[in-house]
Amino acid sequence: MKKYQLFLLSVFVSLNVSANEYTASFFGIKSDGITNNTGSIQKAIDYISEHRGGTLVFYVGRYLTGTIHLKSNVKIRLEEGAVLVGASSPYDYNSSTQGARAIIEANGQSNIGIYGKGVIEGSGNTLIKNMNDLLNAGYIKKNSEPGLISFTNCMNVSLNGLHLWNGPYNALTLTECKTVNLEALDINGRNIPSSTGIVAKGCKWVNLKDLFVEVKKEPFINQNNQFVTIQNAITNKGVTL
């Protein structure tokens, strides 16, 4: 009987481990740079979150998407050569809060992360032009400016190894998050006049390590945060954040 139980336990454990990682293609997410994957990536995140969590892995390719909402216990891994490309219409961005819109957005989630050597590409200048056209026509009102990543009221957040490129505004917005680890990030918006780096407000326990930030506006806005540690985080001008 004990042996049997042990066997069952080992089966469950192995199932758990193998079920932890999902490739994007499993959910029909397309790497062609043309297909808008918002619905499929969201379905994948929801599915993984509802099935005890895990990692959604993107291999080489361009993955076009509008806003996706990251959920608790879900991590995204962008492998080398994987580019998550933000859609070029402002209508493709929304927020679950009144806060900042972004390609990857989360509100009130815990144990979330994005890591790997891939790129999150903001299509900044195209998006800004499209947004200004709609603003000038009066079709949309001035709304929060879309960024690359925006987490609000989240716990245990980690970003590691990513290239965060061509964000139209803030590359990364952190609002009232707790326990945030940012490591080995390359933030670059050198061709975009409104590009901004990391904006952290009202957070606790934020670690910045091995960051490189090249943007036109502020590289780091640090407001009302507690326990921020910075280790080898510099701008393109060699200034520590």
């Binding site: 959910f27 029909g28 808008n36 969201q42 209508y91 079709y139």
Partner: protein, 496 residues
Amino acid sequence: MIKYQKALWVMIWIWCAGMTASAKDYPVLNFGAKNDGVTLNTTIIQGAIDYISENGGGRLVFAPGIYVTGSVYIKSNVTLHLENKAELKGSPNPFDYVRDGYIGWTSLVFSLKQENIGITGEGTINANGFAAATNMVDHIHKGIVVDALSLDRPDATIRPNTIYFRECEKVNVTGITQKDPGSWNFVIDQCTDVLIDRIHIDSKAYWNNDGIDIVDCDRVVIKNSYIDASDDAICFKSHDPSKICQNVVVDNCTVRSSASGLKFGTVNRGGFRNITVTNLKVIDTYRSAITIQSVDGGVAENILIDGVKSYNTANAIYIRMGDRWSGDKTSSLNNVTIKNVYAEIPLSKPDSGYRYEGPVEDLPRNISPSAIVGLPNWRIKDITLSNIEIVYPGGSNPHYAKRGTSKEELESIPEMHHAYPEFSQFKELPAWGFYVRHADNITFDNVVLKVKDSDYRPAIVIDDAKDIELKNINISEPESKKKNQIILNNTTKRKK
């Protein structure tokens, strides 16, 4: 009836005129939509609709090109105008669609509780439903989506319809083509003041694909339209026992179906009332040209069908009352007039070669007659059939499944109280032309029944009927000089 019909038309014209006069045009391309057949435009189209609705209303105009989209919701005072060669095309990705929580169905275009809405122009809505449905099958096999996959297809409510309008007022759909839904096509549910004119429907890309479903609506006009569907073509339904589908005019439509052409039912919980259908053409249809069913405790009354031409369609008329989902209620079916009908019944399968043909059932047996069949205690009443001509192939073979006309044989035909109603449900019936049972005050006036090849059965069998009138009945069958063509059992004729 005619007077009432005119009043309805005048009313609908007045609000239509009002709507077009105030319409302001907004090209969807100005909102950043792409007509390249690749870009997913869902959020852009929705953003444009919301803007127009919040700013006085108008038309969202689609110039020629292919606009891929997922589910969008039309809002009050907005008309989607599809120019000629403009196509709104459904995404192949099932995760780009919404299964609306209130409605309980999935659709490419929704409108819920809005007023003064429309879809116009000479363009097309291509729901691309086969792709979305079959991609959904893959997700179900992988366990990403949980579904019973009954009959190897996803549930009808998670496959996209083309259009689902619910609880809307003043709806105008004219000129457009609708094609290839993954489920039902065009559902108008609990809406009032609806005009459907000059639309073309091609709804045979998957199973369950109805053409138009008018569900519990009030004041509807459907005219000048062509509907080709793998399930019922024009279909009245009543889903809500507290509602009724009423005051409807259908004129000058042509339909093709691998189920029935003009169908009242199957679901009839509330009822059908004051419905007029004129100038209907039915072709290549697998089941009935006209079928009126009341099997779920609803009413069916005041129905006029005037002017039907039916070619290569398996059955002309099937009127059935039953007790399927009636619960505590009693179904009723009365005051129906059907006139000026010409129908040709083929010997071969009418829809053979179409995609998703109707299922072949219980062969071999002989051709079914038209029929009016109630229940012993729930009787169909006040039906008038005038100027009817039905041409049958005949040539029946008594060795298949003979049904004789003795009292015992007639009374042994099962009642099938609770069965799904279909003209073929009784299998072989004892007449080749018309079969009537459990029905009162039925009038046949100038009815011509022709059979091309002699049939072992009589033309007409009437069993358990009161106050029947048979006037100017003209029966022709080769080599049948002494045959008794009209058999009455337990039946009384109306007193003059």
